[in-house]
């Protein structure tokens, strides 16, 4: 059987993935462009938390609002200054994607410069840093605090999102603007405002996830890029157009990665754990080839008809 500690680890990773994937889905729904700079919002969050911890000894959990706001602002800047003008000039999908890759390179190298400069000036580690966590005993194993915090954040976020999207005027306007921008703007909804809110939320949520990342893995400026493909895997597996699907997808990816490598590293195969990223990447490739609309995109009626015919 899989020990509880592995499951807890998987839960932590999945929670963080869920936060990032939610953001990715939100932005994908606005412009229909896959944002390759999305992972770097998480790196920004990690660096904000670590900087505050090192220089001002702020508790990492208390730095979450800062990362939320700053990550959101950077995401918003990207939308307003790069993607929106490009789209208005009639750039196609590939051009928008190349622009997001360009922005990703900018963020990553700015972080590289930041890390190098601070390391040189203060003689502290600003690469491959981790933050030590406190543990709470639970059922014979130790549960890190980050698991509990991230689970609480995801659950409260989902509840808020559900209430906002179904019960409030803003949420309904958001759904309308995403579903059919022309019709929504004809009905007096400010589509631009809705899009800007989506981008701000996306960057903010991802930065929050990034702030919690140093608890789980060593962070450096490349972390966001490495985690990005997992986020894409989760979003596409869940169906990139569906918020709830992307949540489900991130739990599937998180658990299959952590539990999968635990199983594969055991006696019959004895694979080294460095093969870990291959699990989400192969799920991603297989999903794209066989099921490009994700699990929420499966037409269950058709499937059942086909099964009945057999």
């Amino acid at each position: 059987m899989v020990p509880l500690s592995v499951l807890i680890d998987a839960l932590t990773l999945s929670n963080l993935l869920a936060l990032m994937t939610l953001g990715l889905s939100l932005t994908y729904m606005t412009l229909r462009v896959s944002n390759f700079a999305h992972g770097d919002f998480a790196t920004i969050g990690a660096y904000i938390t670590y900087t505050l911890l090192v220089f001002y000894s702020v508790n990492p959990y208390l730095s979450l609002p800062f990362s939320f706001i700053l990550g959101g602002i950077i995401s918003l800047i990207m939308y307003v200054l790069i993607l929106r003008p490009l789209q208005r000039r009639g750039a196609n999908l590939v051009i928008l994607m190349v622009a997001t890759v360009g922005f990703e390179v900018i963020i990553r190298n700015v972080l590289h410069i930041y890390a190098d400069t601070v390391e040189k000036l203060t003689n502290r580690f600003f690469r491959s840093f981790i933050i030590r966590d406190s543990y709470i005993p639970f059922m014979g194993s130790l549960v890190p605090q980050v698991t509990i915090t991230s689970t609480c954040i995801v659950i409260s976020l989902l509840l808020t999102l559900y209430i906002v999207l179904t019960r409030t005027k803003l949420g309904i306007a958001m759904r309308a603007a995403i579903e059919n921008p022309q019709l929504a703007s004809a009905l007096g909804i400010d589509v631009e405002k809705v899009y800007m809110i989506s981008w701000f939320l996306a960057g903010g949520l991802t930065a929050i996830a990034g702030s919690l990342l140093p608890y789980r893995l060593p962070c450096n400026p490349e972390t966001g890029w490495l985690i990005l493909l997992r986020v894409f895997a989760a979003a596409i597996l869940g169906g990139i157009n569906s918020i709830w699907g992307s949540i489900a997808g991130s739990y599937i990816i998180g658990f299959s990665e952590v539990v999968g490598i635990y199983v594969l590293a055991k006696p019959p195969l004895n694979l080294p754990t460095t093969y870990k990223p291959l699990i989400p990447f192969s799920i991603l490739i297989i999903t794209l080839l066989l099921l490009p609309n994700g699990i929420t995109g499966i037409n269950w009626q058709k499937v059942s008809i086909r099964l009945r015919r057999r």
Partner: protein, 369 residues
Amino acid sequence: MAEGLYKAEEEMMLGIVSPMDFLLGILTFYSIYLMLSISLNLEYGYAGIPNFGKVMFFAGGAFTIGAFVTRFVGHIIGLNLSNYYIRNVILATEVDKYFSSHPHLAISIFLLTLMMSALIGAILGYIASYPAIRLKADYLGITLIASGEVLRIIAKNYKPLVCGSLGVAVPNPFVFIDMPLRGVVQCLVMLGIAIGCWYFVEILTRSPFGRVLRAVREDELATAAFGRDVVKIKMKALVIGSAISGLAGGLYAYYIGVVHPDDFAPLWTFTIWVMVIIGGMGNNFGSAIGALAYTVVERLTMYYKDYIPLPFNVVYLGYIAFAIVLILMLMYRPAGLMPEKPIMTINFEAIRKRIYSRMAKKTSSNSHR
């Protein structure tokens, strides 16, 4: 990518780079970048396949050289190939020694293995054409990036391929030439191959096949309605482009002298896209210009980075500058420095008319006599 330039970087730290070596470095890297940018131009500029996994095909070619050359030659000359993972540097030096006394074998092995790396690139391209035909642009991009990372992670962890994260040494096929001349010869050979590839793509894109590629890019449905097999055409473009990338990877491995899986990060793909977009998509001269601009700036930053008193590596600043230039280009000059031009073909109608008129003149003048 910055980690991989061992040879060049080491020399620069020692401060022994003469202007001649600097020029040779630029030309050698230019030949590799030219091949990569021209192949991306064929794939995206002409056929409209957004290949975001360029580094995969490039790495495929380099891994072929790294995994194959020492073993193959070692097998021929009867070296002990056990413990290859640990002893590959010693074996590579042995092969070097053998090469220095057998120039013919060295050259034929060089050409043969380059062909193999092009073949491996083509096979990877054939595999990649399966998703390329079926998926939307963004999904295809993600698939190819993920496949490139899968290849890199496998190469990093599966030691028999290229000796894992330590990398594998590659023998130099030009050791039989003495040192100052060797760099020049190697550079000229690489430049020659690169220009050959460029000329091949130029001819290809001017041919009827090139026109079909553009037709596919503009409107697949209309092209299919005119009886063209869109799937096959896209596949051909991807296979040719990937073969050129694989060849570039092979040359890169021979030049650097070591194949290191972590060297083949997705940043390569970005730089190649920068070259093609700056130069102009759908224009082979543009790709060449873009690659040249990129190479010169990159080499200059690499060369001067130790002289600039900044607390960080200037290379990062270079990447930021390129990304900003890329985004500005996309906004204000999306066609690039050299926009796509209509293809000039031979005007057969005019030639025929001219010949007829001349013949008519001749016959009339003959009859007068």
